[in-house]
Amino acid sequence: MEFPADLKYTQSDEWVRLEGKVATLGITDFAQDQLSDIVFVEVVAGVGTALQKGKAVASVESVKAASEVYTPAGGKVIEVNEALSATPELVNSDPYGKAWMVKLELSDPAEVGGLMDAGAYRKHCEERSH
């Protein structure tokens, strides 16, 4: 299980990469492992829409369950990963890379500061996977 050190993590298993004001969002290795084979990803936030913290940005469906992906910080959607609708399996094979879901221009990048770092998130996962 990978926990890249340059990312921030949420309780609900999203990862965030912050570069300036731009945050890239996806779901973690732990999340994809728990969901098993991902068969459908729908990015529901369109480019240009303003999202508040906690709003759904994508919907992920596996052979076992459906779940929503939420943004941990408010901002404007500047790019969505169109490739995921045709190749949802990228979420399984490359959750931190090719399977990024949306890019947001954050209104307040400091909101990301309160999220977990890799070490804290690893612990959060270990607590749930006994």
Binding site: E42, V44, S62, A66, S67, E68
Partner: protein, 447 residues
Amino acid sequence: MAYIPHTDEERRAMLAAIGVGRMEDLYEAVPAEVRFPDLDLPEAISEMEILQELQDLSEANLDTRHFASFLGAGAYNHFIPSAVDAILRRAEFYTAYTPYQPEISQGTLQAIFEYQSLICNLTGMEVSNASHYDGATALAEAVILALNHHRGARRKIVLSPAIHPHARQVVRTYMQGMEIEVVGGDRLENDSRALAGLIDDQTAMVAVQYPDFFGRVEDFTALGRAAHAAGALLCVSVNPLPLGLLKPPSAFDADVVVGEGQTLGIPLSFGGPYLGHFTTKKEFVRKMAGRLVGETLDSRGQRGFVLTLSTREQHIKREKATSNICTNVALMALASAVYLSVMGKQGVRRVAELCYHKAHYAAEKIGALPEYRIWNTGPFFHEFVVACPIPVAAINTALLDYQILGGYDLGQDYPELKNHMLLAVTEMNSREEIDALAAALAEVGHA
């Protein structure tokens, strides 16, 4: 293995396990005076006697075997080849319950797959689900699909007034408490152009019927364009049988095609069980309720069938489900698949042609009667509206003396159409029957 599931010994063990002395003690919460009430039932009679009694009862019905029927309005009297029943009554199909371990039931899956393929062929759409309970439910599910497609951001549905009134009622029932605005259906004069005028940036879907409730056949291409221009979906509710003859609804760029499939080999049987067909474009398949069977190859390269989209409401989406319907009417879907296979492309077209020509012959005969007027002005399929000189209920009662079941009283649903009768003519109506209807109407209309 003992065939009797619960032996006395097992019952005793179960009662002991829960600390109850006798079975009767389980009913203690029920007041004694209502626990075993005396039922006022007649004396027991023999099987021979009861069969006779039931036979007498059923003969009190005015059925289509003894009466010439011109009643349609969503349920139609068509010929059903014997092969349909012969296959349906095979125990493998007839007694099978929903396939919870689906891939073990290859026959059931194949039957559903064939049904889906045939319905797609008829409607011209890309994907079909395994069916819904009836046409009205399928229409309501189409509305749910549209609302979810827009993720709740659009809360208005435009319904044509020429959609079956019962189906519109079911849609309204589904939408209760959801704060969805359902417009358009309450004004008879809302034609395609008026419906297009009701579409705005809040509209999730526009739904029409084809042929419509009054039998009219209309090209909905312009309406579809207007819907799409506003980002709304177009749903067309169809009777699939005339599609053997008419342009398929896919030609209007419909996003969802639903409807009542009773016309495909399913008897009238007092209103059910019927068949709700549901097809859509591939892009909406994840928003579709129910299940979808697909064809694949197994590990040995042999053809097999799988639940490509399983009962996702139950197993996958659960509390995130957008519909609470996972079930389908597999036996009715099979009936329609057998019907379509037996009739073939030419056969279905021939039935549709017979319906069309006989209905037009009837409209011509009735339109020539001075007391009656044909309300339809444009093209129609096998149903048409007749303006009558006296109330429809009175005409229908009088027609019974002529061994004729008259048409549907439109005044029940459309106040503007008081004294208007909706007549349906199918391949089952002979020319003699149609002539007899016209003659009877002439006599009845004088009264």
